[in-house]
């Protein structure tokens, strides 16, 4: 059955694996390995330079990626159909790289407060980022699952990285169990789809049932297959865990609170965006013939997610739990975009624009959180922000811009993101969802402004009794790299709100 390993066969195998097409992922993987090698080779005194290598290496890679943003051979499959390269994939690559750079930068600030191994943190972040890039471009369930597991296993470690903190370990355990459950659901769905699409008794059956193109063709030939429906629902449930959509959001508050702050930012932005990239690929390509099934499911998820996230965030005093639950509501807004994208191509660009605005605003807020947090990373209360505007006007201004953008206050980027998604939803005729979304926006203003109020207006505090010490942690002074980055994030948030320019044009015209 199998030919001997002739040179021709080897050449054919080599030709189908186009390594050049995944240059950014390869470079990230090599950079991650280089960090470990540097730790072995360099003397202990030079170890502080390794994070600089990680960040600079990624900046160079980002420059290369942006310089060659539309390489030859886009819109094609590589690696025997395992990957599909598209301009959306290029956008997600740049997105993940930017978030990885920012996470590394926040990591330098947060890790300085802990006595923990440093280099491994950056290694994990880089490998997880490379895996996310592959995940967003996957065209085959085998690659999707392997990349997803790489991301998830990396996050298990990153979430429990502050191992001296019981909350961090607890968060790691919770994430492990919930992550395993969601992987099991996803895998069960994949197996059902594989089994039904490979069934020779059905029309259009295929031997390559894991491939999205082949699966799409099979589903188009069998428009009403019960097992395929069950498989699709299970796969969507597995992805909904990753994006934190209701009713799969149960892990979010505890894990977000316990995880180290940079990791929480990574979870909130990159992990969520990876989930949405997968969801878009699945609903728009692989499961496209079953839109009558996916659209109602995702619509109900979107409405429930928006309401749950916003209402649950109202009562939170811990800022990490608050931002986690507000992230749940953002997943709901993005889900509206995904639902609209099934019928309106404009919505796809709106989702990507929303993600970009969400990245800028969330990292601005997390940058401030990292500087306000003390050595106890899990306890970050709203009243720790008291007097921030007086003591450190720069951090307070960045916080206000970030939170304002998340709340969707014009003229910030978050407002434009919401506006684009709502316009797309309006064009797609999703009026009930729009109503829910607007109610959600109104509720969200309450808790975002509560946070801003804590930073800008003095609240009355009981005077300290004799012998009582102020339990609020000391703020970290802002070093210039973090300061420049936070300033840039806030500036981009403001500029992108006023003027979308060629970026918006590139995203929204297709």
């Amino acid at each position: 059955m199998f030919a001997a390993m002739t040179p021709e066969l080897l050449q054919a195998a080599a030709a189908s694996n186009q390594w050049g097409a995944i240059f950014p992922e390869l470079a990230l993987g090599c950079l991650a390995l280089l960090l470990l090698v540097l730790e072995i080779l360099l003397p202990k005194s030079a170890h502080a330079r390794i994070p600089v290598v990680a960040i600079l290496g990624q900046l160079v890679l980002l420059a290369v990626l942006l310089w060659n943003f539309a390489p030859t051979g886009l819109e094609r499959d590589t690696f025997n159909g395992l990957l599909h390269h598209s301009r959306d994939g290029q956008f997600m690559r740049a997105f993940f790289l930017v978030s990885s750079i920012l996470v590394c930068l926040l990591g330098t600030v947060a890790l300085a407060k802990q006595k923990l191994p440093r280099v491994e943190f950056y290694h994990l972040v880089l490998v997880v980022t490379a895996a996310m890039m592959l995940l967003a471009q996957s065209n085959h369930f085998v690659l999707l699952f392997v990349a997803l597991e790489t991301v998830t296993v990396g996050f298990y470690i990153l979430v429990s990285y502050f191992r001296a903190s019981p909350l961090s370990l607890e968060a790691g355990l919770k994430y492990l169990i919930m992550g395993a459950l969601s992987s099991a659901l996803l895998l069960f769905g994949i197996v059902l789809l594989y089994g039904v699409a490979g069934n020779p008794a059905l029309p259009g059956h295929t031997a390559e049932a894991m491939n999205f193109n082949a699966l799409n063709a099979f589903l188009a030939a069998n428009p009403d297959n019960f097992l395929a429906k069950a498989g699709i629902v299970l796969v969507l449930a597995g992805v909904a865990f990753k994006i934190g959509a209701f009713p799969f959001q149960i892990w979010i508050p505890d894990v977000y609170q316990g995880a180290p702050t940079p990791v929480t930012a990574f979870l909130a932005v990159a992990s969520k965006a990876a989930g949405f990239a997968v969801l878009l690929v699945l609903t728009l390509r692989a499961f496209a013939p079953y839109a009558t099934l996916t659209v109602p499911i995702l619509s109900v998820l979107a409405a429930a997610t928006i309401l749950f996230g916003n209402i649950a965030a109202l009562t939170q005093h811990n800022v990490k739990r608050l931002i986690g639950l507000s992230g749940v509501s953002h997943a709901g807004f993005l889900l509206i975009g995904v639902v609209a994208a099934v019928s309106t191509p404009l919505a796809l660009g709106a989702v990507y624009f929303y993600l970009a605005a969400y990245l800028l605003a969330t990292f601005a807020v997390f940058g401030v959180m990292t500087h306000v947090a003390g050595a106890n990373d899990a306890e970050q209360e709203l009243d720790h922000y008291a007097g921030l505007a007086r003591d450190n006007p720069f951090l307070a201004a960045v916080l206000a811009v970030g939170l304002g953008s998340l709340a969707g206050i014009p003229p910030l980027a978050g407002f434009m993101g919401k506006l684009f998604v709502f316009i797309a939803a309006f064009k797609a005729g999703l009026y009930p969802l729009l109503t829910v979304a607007i109610v959600g926006v109104v509720i969200s203003i309450y808790y975002y402004f509560g946070w801003i109020k804590a930073a800008f207006f003095e609240a009355w505090r009981a005077p300290l009794q004799e012998g009582e010490i102020d339990d609020r942690p000391a703020r970290t002074p802002v070093a210039w790299p973090a300061g420049v980055t936070l300033g840039l994030l806030a500036l981009c948030t403001v500029l992108l709100g006023f003027y979308q320019g060629s970026f918006g044009e590139w995203l929204l015209t297709r």
Binding site: L82, P117, H123, A130, V142, V153, I157, G172, F226
Partner: protein, 171 residues
């Protein structure tokens, strides 16, 4: 007919073994039940003519992983703890979940029937050579990613379990 009977025997072994893992309070017994469950699973693979998978499952999981579990259980001398009784809310949620699962299984049973008996497809996973061929040609990229995954898992074990100088447990 024999194959059908064998299927049910192995399925029962797998499912009962898995239940035993969850319900056993004694950790050693739970590990042993896990072993039983894996043997049942290996039997199912044999019925599907995936002999290599069956052998690997017995070697790697039953042979190595469960043995490792047992070593660790005995080294740490883990005692089965006392469970706090379920609260009313948990009981209610569990009942609702069980009812939903039963409903799902019932509808799967009613609608998910496959009409005709299927001819066995050509299995690429039955021989070692078939596997190796697939892994080194079509699925080369996932294999490389798994390499990174394993490295990362190893690093994670070191980071989370190694005692660091300066932390409270590192003295």
């Amino acid at each position: 007919m024999t194959a059908n009977l064998m299927f049910y025997v192995f399925t029962a072994l797998t499912a009962l073994g898995a239940l035993g893992v969850v319900f056993n309070r004694n950790t050693v017994n739970a590990a042993m039940c896990f072993l039983l469950s894996l043997v049942g699973l290996a039997g199912l693979f044999v019925l599907l003519e995936a002999y290599l998978l069956a052998v690997l499952l017995v070697f790697v999981y039953a042979g190595a992983v469960v043995t490792l579990f047992l070593f660790i259980v005995m080294l740490l001398d883990v005692k089965g703890g006392r469970r706090s009784p379920f609260t009313k809310g948990t009981g209610l949620a569990a009942t609702v979940a069980a009812a939903l699962i039963a409903l799902g299984l019932l509808s799967l049973y009613n609608h998910g029937r496959i009409a005709a008996a299927l001819p066995a497809g050509p299995g690429s996973g039955s021989s070692l050579k078939g596997y190796a061929y697939q892994l080194f040609t079509t699925y080369l990229l996932p294999v490389q990613i798994v390499g990174f995954l394993l490295l990362m898992a190893m690093l994670g074990v070191i980071v989370i379990s190694k005692r660091q100088a300066g932390t409270e447990d590192g003295k």
